[in-house]
Symmetry: C2
Subunit: 527 residues, 2 copies
């Protein structure tokens, strides 16, 4: 199948396939009206796209490299490659601001095409923004364009091959343009899975997973994406870099870990070799209720430090639990209270049974109340849908966004309180701050916050103030500015504080070495 033809493009004003967009259910609408009031704010219709400013001679040069069909300047294609999917990105698009649109969209067919485009871009000083799934929520696609002869979106939509499978070593080599479901479908033909399911799974790409150090909802069982990668091929403006001679080694610094998280600023990842697992025979998810977030978190820590983690484990705080339970069929019943944990097990039946029994014994012993499989099924059913809800809420004037961080266990309570306070203080009443622990490690965990507030007259400015306050709280607490959303343009000042001037200096040195004329994603990642 033609990879371009088969790709469902995302709604440029919101999340996912426009056909899947869902209006607010009536009951939710009532709740929203009660808390925030309804303030219909439809997107601007027919916003104008800035004209492509690219010299026709350069366009001809690119067409010679890639073929005429793979260099696009039409409005529709350029609009679909404008920015990512953060709430600020959506607010700008909904307000009709498409000023970050690329001058052209180029579609390389493989590594050599990418290298050729980079050489061309160096020669003519064109900025190049690698585009995988377009799901960045940190401004990773909004590169600086001043001073360049133009800005190209390097669309990896044609690079969707499964290049190799090694069933003995249990690795697979994938091209970067494969989206989550496409990669899983190709691997499934070999009875394999990557097991990487971030919330953006349906649209995000393999290259993006690597370039942003993605972490999936099943990372407790399968590992973060950076832990899955054993090899990489990268096209840089200075030449090719091929890494991955062994699962692990002592041959100097691990340069793979320098490419992972490099967000297109050091080079374009043109293939990723990942550890794969056999497709699980069984997948089962279940719910647990805890008397409080603190008690539930302590139970997660016990599991992580006992080497007893399920495939999926997440814990909502009291507020998030209350909201999640406020579904039509539960409204009217007694409020459930406490905190909801989801645990999931994937694998062979015997292994699932053994792990589940061991985890169940620990959780029961620590005061958890098993709620059976229904909450698990419900979570699994809706696990990729939250971003659609955001669009519906933005439509009625509710400002919604998420942010995440991570820290060591001993610092979790402080981090949770500080971030929550910072958001509540800056967003004003009414604001709801929900949180869940999305990923756990032996030494710590991530905190994932969802915020809903009554949108101000300028919701973008409103959010940027709140986000800065939250970021200050995160760095002030000694935590990381991002656990799995990457740096992009939005987190740069706080990354600088997190890694300090010497850390920044290293990133700049590597950037200057690999991309001396700074054509790659200028303004992204490097403070």
């Amino acid at each position: 199948m033609d990879p371009v033809q088969s790709t469902v493009e995302m709604n440029p004003l919101g999340w996912g396939d426009a056909a899947s967009a869902t209006p607010l259910p009536d009951t939710a609408r009532g709740l929203i009206e009660m808390v925030f009031g309804l303030d219909e704010r439809p997107p601007v219709e027919h916003p104008e796209l800035p004209a492509s400013g690219l010299d026709p001679v350069l366009l001809d040069g690119l067409r010679e490299l890639l073929g005429p069909d793979h260099v696009r300047t039409d409005d529709e294609t350029r609009r679909l490659r404008t920015r990512g999917k953060s709430t600020p990105d959506l607010l700008r698009a909904r307000a009709g601001d498409l000023s970050d649109a690329p001058d052209a969209v180029v579609r390389p067919a493989g590594h050599d095409d990418v290298a050729a485009v980079l050489a061309f871009a160096v020669e003519h000083h064109l900025a190049v923004v690698p585009f995988g799934g377009g799901t960045s929520v940190t401004g990773g696609l909004a590169a600086r364009r001043e001073g360049y002869a133009g800005l190209l979106s390097l669309d990896l939509i044609r690079m969707k091959r499964l290049l190799a499978v090694d069933p003995v070593s249990m690795t697979a080599t994938l091209e970067p343009g494969l989206r989550g479901p496409e990669a899983e479908a190709l691997l499934a033909e070999h009875g394999l899975t990557l097991g990487h399911y971030p919330q953006s799974f349906e649209y995000a790409s393999i290259g993006g997973f690597a370039a942003t150090r993605s972490s999936g909802q099943s990372s407790a069982g399968y590992g973060r994406f950076d832990a899955l990668v054993v090899g990489l091929t990268v096209a840089t403006p200075r030449g090719d870099l091929t890494l991955g001679s062994a699962p692990a080694n002592a041959a100097g610094p691990d340069l793979r870990q320098l490419v992972l998280g490099s967000e297109g600023a050091f080079g374009v990842i043109t293939s990723v070799t990942v550890r794969v697992r056999r497709l699980p025979a069984v997948k089962v998810y279940e719910g647990w209720r805890w008397p409080s977030f603190v008690v539930g978190a302590a139970a997660m820590r016990t599991l992580a430090q006992s080497g007893l983690l399920p495939t999926v484990i997440r814990l909502s705080d009291e507020s998030e639990t209350a909201i999640n339970l406020a579904r039509p069929d539960e409204i009217g019943g007694a409020p459930a209270g406490g905190c909801m944990m989801i645990t999931g097990y994937e694998g062979e039946q015997a292994a699932v049974d053994a792990k589940r029994a061991a985890v169940t014994a620990v959780l029961s012993g620590l005061g958890g109340e098993s709620l059976g499989e229904e909450p698990g099924r419900s979570w699994a059913h809706g696990r990729f849908n939250a971003p659609y809800l955001r669009d519906a809420l933005l439509d009625v004037g509710v400002l919604v966004e998420t942010l995440e961080t991570a820290t060591f266990w001993s610092n979790m309570d402080r981090l949770y309180a500080d971030v929550k306070s910072a958001l509540e203080a800056t967003l004003g009443e009414p604001t709801m701050v929900l949180c869940h622990i999305s990923h756990v490690y032996e030494t710590g965990c991530s905190l994932y916050f969802t915020v809903a507030a009554k949108g101000a007259a300028d919701p973008l400015a409103q959010w940027l103030v709140a986000k800065a306050a939250a970021n200050d709280a995160i760095i002030g607490a000694g935590a990381t500015i991002t656990h799995h959303h990457a740096v992009g343009t939005d987190h740069k000042p706080w990354l600088a504080r997190e890694i300090g001037p010497i850390g920044v200096s290293i990133l700049r040195a590597v950037k200057a070495d690999l991309d001396p004329t700074c054509i790659l994603n200028p303004g992204v990642l490097i403070p």
Copy 2:
């Protein structure tokens, strides 16, 4: 206790405490004589140390920084800080060549002292070689001195504090000069363990583990050292670098992984925060016999890919098994044949029992023959002693050395055959090449070779030819030049082939950024 006073210095002509050196047992001596002949080659007595070439004014400056007692130029101290413990290092020392001796040994008390020494070294263009345990086997302590005002050994012997313990997050912060047993003793006071036991454990240091990406004999259970590290403090000539805001994150490239494996060429690691575990209640090791190396390796792969690894797992090939079994009490019995695997389990009794039962079922099902705990006890008893045997063999003219590599499972057979052939072809008859799988991963494993050959008139030249052939075979097979021995000076040309010109360029760029006057371990690591 004074950390300098309490440190047992290693025999400068061989491994470990000279008091623990053991002559060849009579039976082994007979075997050696039969295979190689005996050719007594005692070390040169009273070799001359080059005079310290350091300007007295500089010495005074260093003494002002650190105090007079912590700047040493006496022959004995300098001799103890000359080179590491590779066979080439020992052959040079035994031949009376101490030309790599430092001009002075300086002993900082902590991070600030290290930073002050680096600033002084930059100002006066002194080369600085960080010294932890002195156990490098890749020439990591033999820095280039030409063009410098002198060469300092930066001895971390006074930096032996446990700086912090976080029992909630299960982390500990250690100074780099702590040797393995010292770190374990401090942690044991808190009921904790690092669980990191490389063969060099008794002498190697925390800083060295980090700087070289060490891997321990229990890494299947506890993880490689680079997997244990969650935070680092580094003094560089440009300033301090502090990393580790969370267990894992997406805040750009993981710069910790750039410091790990940097071998003192980017900066001096002044503290390491590591994941720790509770001291195991139970430690049990046992032996398994396999009909062949291939069958045993396939069983290891099955365990690794089933998530069922014991704490320790290693498998000797047919030759190594035969030699290891050729102990006095076994000689005369029927030759055992096959391949010996050691498995070990550490932890709480219930967890050990469960894991052991599960692993036993898999191994039995795959054709393994359980040999019970005696071979396990025997392995555990002698696990750190092999380097002493090397000294005794060098004394009788047998050339002995080890080397290691790693690859993906599907490439293991080729790598094994190629390296073995390269060594046998270059060392001539009689040569014994023994091998074991020392570490396993889901996607691959390491191969650890031990070589014994009849020493030529110039055994150093003899070994360098063989080592180069083995390295060529490793890189030719697409494997890594080192799984856990690091790069040093010895592996540099092959590292360049492994990571390619762009990889080398990155290392050079980081080096130039952090150490612009190239005072840190010049000539080490960076091709």
